[in-house]
Assembly symmetry: C2
Homo-oligomer: 689 residues x 2
Amino acid sequence: MTSPRTNLERLFAPTSLAVVGASASPAKAGYQAMSALESFAGEVFAINPKAEAVLGRQAFPSLRALPRPVDLVLFAVPAASCVAAVREAIDTGCGSGLIVSGGFSESGPEGVEMEAELGRLCRQAGFRLLGPNTAGFLNTELSLTASFLPSAGLVPAGHVAVVAQSAGINLTVSFLLAKLGYGVSCAVGLGNAVDVGAADVLEFVANQPQTRAIALHLEGIRDGRRLYETLLRVTRKKPVVAFTVGKSDIGEFAHSHTGNLIGSYTLRQSALEQAGAVLVDSTEELAMAAAALSLRRLPAKLDPGIGVVTAQAGAGLAILDLLKSKGISVPAVTRATEQRIARLLPPMTYQKNPVDTGRPGPHFAEVVAALAEDDNIDAVITYALSEPAALRPAESLPAVQRAVAKPILFGTVGPREEVEATAAALTAEGFFVARSPEELARAACALARDAALRARVSRTPAHHAELLALHVPELPDEDSAKQLLASLGIAVPRRVVCSSRGAAHEALRHLQLPVVAKILAAEIAHKTEVGGVCLNIRDGAALDDALVRLDAIHVGAAPRRYLIEEMAPSGLELIVSATRDGSFGPTVMVGLGGIHAEVLRDTATRLAPLSLSSAHEMLEELRAFPLLNGWRGGPKLDHDAVARCILGLANLLCQEPIVQELEINPLRVYPSGVLALDALLIVKRDDST
Amino acid sequence: MTSPRTNLERLFAPTSLAVVGASASPAKAGYQAMSALESFAGEVFAINPKAEAVLGRQAFPSLRALPRPVDLVLFAVPAASCVAAVREAIDTGCGSGLIVSGGFSESGPEGVEMEAELGRLCRQAGFRLLGPNTAGFLNTELSLTASFLPSAGLVPAGHVAVVAQSAGINLTVSFLLAKLGYGVSCAVGLGNAVDVGAADVLEFVANQPQTRAIALHLEGIRDGRRLYETLLRVTRKKPVVAFTVGKSDIGEFAHSHTGNLIGSYTLRQSALEQAGAVLVDSTEELAMAAAALSLRRLPAKLDPGIGVVTAQAGAGLAILDLLKSKGISVPAVTRATEQRIARLLPPMTYQKNPVDTGRPGPHFAEVVAALAEDDNIDAVITYALSEPAALRPAESLPAVQRAVAKPILFGTVGPREEVEATAAALTAEGFFVARSPEELARAACALARDAALRARVSRTPAHHAELLALHVPELPDEDSAKQLLASLGIAVPRRVVCSSRGAAHEALRHLQLPVVAKILAAEIAHKTEVGGVCLNIRDGAALDDALVRLDAIHVGAAPRRYLIEEMAPSGLELIVSATRDGSFGPTVMVGLGGIHAEVLRDTATRLAPLSLSSAHEMLEELRAFPLLNGWRGGPKLDHDAVARCILGLANLLCQEPIVQELEINPLRVYPSGVLALDALLIVKRDDST
């Protein structure tokens, strides 16, 4: 290699290319690839042992025959030939490759093996490979269409990078951007992602000057932790909008597609958001939100305020309803702004926020300016039916935008020619133009969400708290799990481990009544299900009854032990747990306890480590949050103790790689403090994280 | 009146018109109205005492001066002049009117009074009035633009009727339809709806031959019951799609708009759906779904199956995920269909449902046909990126559609000119063409939902069950409320009403232990909050303790009474209640009991009367439904007893107009049977329903 550029840069910004399997036969991928490269200004070599030239380019019999190694090799050959071809590319010093063929891990055991071999080759050599099973990518800065789909070359250049698991979604989003009047800087379909994954492409486009926003599409995520950490860095520099499928059970079809297991949708969504990516629910919204964010980004702010100006109250209501249902603030304006607007509009119009101008008149733009200059407002969205006789936004709004630093977005509906003319003129001035009331509201949501997430991300600790002195038991039971909780600073009930009935009676005398008697055995994870928990014991007779029942439970060869424990006062019950996910690593979860977390799915999830304020946000996300917050005149419960409990579990998993899971169920929550009534700890003895 | 037509027909399909306030000054509404009427073929009279002619039409000094009464009068005069003008229209035999001016109930007490007077005039005379505070309506069959918005005349003619509370939404939806390539038959903005409401317009457009689907937009609903009953009739004839705002708190702005109080969003949504309207969440989706349904409607079917054919698996996944998350079935196809598809496609493609064709080839349309002809499939949606070289859907799909009676919908994304050409050609053939994967999926949802709701509606009883012999107490307490429940066939615990401590001890001897002792007083609705419920009484001493506590509660002048009641076995707790809503009349609600209904909002609502299967559907709608259905290997609970309990309350409210509310909280549910542990009955003594 003569260039100091990384092989990843050689892949996405090559100066020279070779097409293995280049063909003059229009039905072949090797023809499509060659013809798509016509606009590329770099060197292009055709590799075809049977031809002297392909589409006017000199053909070489093999990569070895080339005068010098190329940056990027496009492999337009069947799956079975790919391993050998990649090996040759590596041997000849080429930097990177792109495999379009399917027939790898998505198709069966043989494909899985070939794909694994490709992965090994890449890792050994540092060769960067896109695909297999992808249509390729575009880099419009280089007029480079490294794709086998004929229409890919028609995607206009612009400032949004599209990073998609699927080649089809890559082009779908690119053309949806074009429909909105925007274009792409780079557009990549990952396919099976044997080597180059979303994190790699994100690193590349985050440094690409012409990329101003990133649209990310994901199905399954293999190395979730790396993606998360990459996104944490990228979202500080550039806005990222993410769309991921899998809210329903679509596993079999998903696996057939790119060989990815779909994984937990909730965890994926939580991780993307925690890393600062704005989540959306469709390809349309992915394109729209990325386009809006590529124009202007709000400064980081936890709760930005949106101002709404509408010429039609009905549309204003639809906009307000959507914003509020997404938790976006539409704050009251200052008294001064109200007075300023009152001087501009007729008396019967609604002049708070939203401002309903009634029939749009000459003061429309001034009203927008008044709202935009208000201290409570961070961005203004404005909607009007197209009425060129009454309102010419392309003539009046640009001056307002130049005068205030805050984003102003415009939405309109009307006769096609009118709308297109207005949109073209405003887009040229750097405005986002929405084509419906809801699109306008959703664009505002994206701006506000990006600002709020960035403010949150800035509080996420880069590393977890200082190391604690912890003893992780190798064969944990409830008692040793609770000792671990105590050393994490999480309160547990007073209790005594007893190896005999006599010891249990002794314990009864020293503990506060009533007590609970439980079977204590590392083998029994779910004590209640085997009758291993006896509540409300107040005297020796009741204890004897309980011990008889516990003795009837089979516990294997270990000596029989009991846990005699003080019963806790009643209170709200939560479940708090930390789990080591195969893709994302340490995660924490909190939910309403008992049947609710599972049936009603009222839970909040984060990756660990996390900040105390993130733990508080988890509580606020629960539908059950009002129960923690002084429900029906009751006392406000101790949020902070719950949040610290979440952090304790998070820190444990970050610090101790052998801990797979620690679940507190239930965690009783009181006006002051919490109490972990049961704990289940799962450790993995061989230290593989 | 010489015509047998109703005044509602004279309003929306007039043969003659007069404009009061017709003006030659372009800034005035009376000018806009006159110029918008230029295309109208019927008679148009200008009313202006100061002019001889307006825009080439002879002007008359007043309605009285006209040669004969007109069908419709457009009032382009200020609010203050409207009452007198409407009176003149009535006196001269005109049939209907339209008031554009604002300044009525949305603007303050004086406006409220003027609006009330307009309402009285209309009711007395049978005059039908649209507005005030509306921009009017279009009837494209008559080339009639009865509107003051200049662009209204540019809405193309078509087969969707738009019925919108708001004039702005009326035009927004009309132009969104135009953008999709469709047009309107009739488009009406209701404004303040002093006389003509949504139900009236629905009646009109349901009978209008060129209307094939109806897009309905609502803010508040004043006479919900009438709207519901009208919709029940209309949705049998024509598909109705409904969009209503108010999921968030937008009350103040909403009231300022059309003077409507927004009411309960949940109830409104439930009622619209129960009447067979397909609910959507945006103006975009309102236009899109109405357009799709105007082309083809599925036969009524509870769970129609959607077939999905996609040329790009990534888009197919997004489509499948959306369909499944909306509860739409994407069923497996028969073995025969699988084999047929296997012969058409290369081996590595996914050939179940969805079918992923891989790169689209010559067999694409045959694959669509194979799926469409499968017995499990009721409609096929098909998505492909635009690739004219590989796929020409406009050439191949129409023949498939002609050969099978099931709807086939197509979605595509790509270079604009290609997509527009394909869409225009397929639209001309009667296809719905979606412009994104999600739009395609949402169109399928609308078709499936319409079919499912129609199947449900056909089971809704037109009248409630035969009359029961019921005694509704005038001053109900828990005991008399439970007597009423028992006479509705709802099981209640054994209990004794006691007027003395001695009687309570006597009761203790005859009931099964343990018992609960409660304060019994019509004045005390919430016994628990005043300490009026003592649980778990097993002996006389405990009963004495309880009675002392109950005697400490202040109950006013009435003699002190106790309710001694057998305690029920533990079980799942629901809340079931029936309420008489001011707009919608009798309604029933079921939810998970305790704190959950209120905090987690896990409830289902219906209007009464309803069928037993509707009551079952309510249970299935609850997120908590798994708890009723054999959760964690537990027994399946008695759905039918809960459903019959819901019906019992529904029938009570339908039969007894003085009952305002009856709430059972909790209703314990067992594997066999239910038990109403507490009941709160509210009656209204003057019999006004």
